[in-house]
Symmetry: C2
Subunit: 212 residues, 2 copies
């Protein structure tokens, strides 16, 4: 880690968005940008940007702006994207297959190395050269390979038990798409993605707006 | 709307989680719960719960706790879940198909009425009785049917244009899964779901934890 201080999760959660915008600027050949320009592009205030990036010692020079390549790289380092991460997917239904086909994860060092399912119709099938294995083989696989992240796209009834097992077998990151909140031992990190929450929030905003 | 005051989006974003937990309690036959018990279950502080729910006039009675059914219903009303919402999916690849198969959305009044894609191999296919139509038919469809929400699960190159068109044709809610931030006219609401952001945040937390 480049930085020992604890940075608030609110700031951390904003970093991937900076990373994405800076990556797009780089792709478009932009080498420097002011906080004002970045602010207009990202629709956040320039002071928010300066404040967020100051958490990491700034990177900006007064009157010059930010060096896009340097800032992109530094944020990538902070997020840990200079390391590669190996991933498995547990549950190869539509959502699992969709995520298995996201090649953009790989570009950021997230490498899919295993696919698991209980469904005999899926077992044996290959996605991007990776064979779907029976879930019974998962323990052996996880213990043999270094698995950093397990993507949980399985029914909610089995997810708690699976998460506990994966944690026990040494997986340190769980990316959970089942509609339950997982609480796991210290040292294991969970990101719960609740798609229905996002949809309900959208419904609220639509209805709220109608009332205006 | 039951409530005219503006409630902060931070609170609104926490409501679906309350709604989900209260729904589970109801399913398990629990009729009342104290903020302390709810707090232990949800792993948030009891004072956070009281503060959040006070935004809507409380619902709790000192020494009794919350009436689960009433609170569940009231939060549902606030979120606009007493109304039904019609949805279309634009882009019927793996992710679009996964979302089309989420029957849990329907239970909350989100009804899928249309599927669109450009791919001739997908056009004509049916998912849960809904035929995938060519994207050329979308304008006519949206103008004939009342479409509240368009789910955008299409490549990022086309998503801005599609979003602008849908807004022009009267769709008020866009649930965007493409890795771009959409900025649309006033009166149109967008929820951008950036799966890669969630994954990068997880990577950060794994790496951060290793350093400890």
């Amino acid at each position: 880690m480049t930085e020992e201080r604890k940075i608030s999760m609110a700031v951390i959660r904003r970093l991937p968005r900076y990373y994405r915008y800076l990556g797009e600027l780089l792709d478009n050949g932009v080498t420097k940008i002011s906080s004002r320009e970045l602010s207009e592009k990202m629709k956040v205030t320039a002071s928010q940007i300066r404040q967020d990036l100051n958490n990491f010692g700034g990177f900006g020079q007064q009157g010059y702006g930010y060096n896009v390549e340097y800032l992109h790289k530094e944020i990538g380092k902070i997020l840990g994207l200079e390391n590669t991460h190996s991933m498995i997917i547990v549950g190869v239904g539509n959502l699992g297959q969709a995520l298995a086909n996201y090649t953009s994860f790989e570009k950021r060092g997230f490498n899919l190395i295993g696919l698991f399912d209980v469904n005999p119709r899926l077992v044996g099938m290959s996605i991007r050269g990776i064979e779907v294995l029976d879930i019974d083989k998962m323990e052996e696989f996880v213990k043999e390979h270094k698995v950093d992240i397990a993507i949980l796209t399985m029914p909610k009834t089995k997810v708690k038990e699976t998460a506990e097992n994966l944690a026990k077998w040494g997986v340190r990151g769980l990316w959970n798409f089942s509609p339950v909140d997982l609480f796991v031992p210290d040292g294991v990190q969970v990101e719960n993605v609740h798609l229905s929450h996002s949809l309900m929030t959208l419904a609220y905003r639509i209805n709220e707006c109608e009332g205006e």
